[in-house]
Symmetry: C2
Subunit: 82 residues, 2 copies
């Protein structure tokens, strides 16, 4: 069984309202000096079989077609480090 | 300027409806052999000043108080690797 992490973040040029909402709330909770906050999604995907180039390529395809919206989001895939 | 990544995932014992929805959709898109999918949040937080034990501790407090719900979620904080 292989486990991968898919990180999906808004493209830098795309407005990130969730991140801005968090950025706005932090000073009200007493946290100063925060310059920016960006919020995205993190997936942990478990696939049958051992980690290999094939399983990595398969998870990349999942990221491209379902887990992210390539028009507004960037994604990266890595093997899960326990 | 220091940048940190905060990963927030549902605790293993907590039902993860978003992850289950993705798990259910993957076979319909032709992806077989997926055993499990868990979905969480990823934050990139930029703070003033250089990375230090103090800034790391500050971001941990943000994760504990605002970015995650410690009752149902686990979080981890790491320095952003560009």
């Amino acid at each position: 069984m292989a486990r991968y992490v898919v990180d999906v973040m808004p493209k830098p040029e795309i407005l990130d309202p969730q991140g801005k909402a968090v950025l706005g709330a932090l000073p009200r909770l007493g946290f100063d000096g925060v310059l920016d906050v960006r919020q995205g999604k993190r997936f942990e995907v478990e696939v049958d079989g051992d980690a290999s180039e094939e399983t990595l390529a398969e998870v990349r395809k999942m990221a491209e077609t379902l887990l992210s919206n390539p028009v507004i989001e960037d994604y990266s895939v890595s093997e899960h480090q326990p």
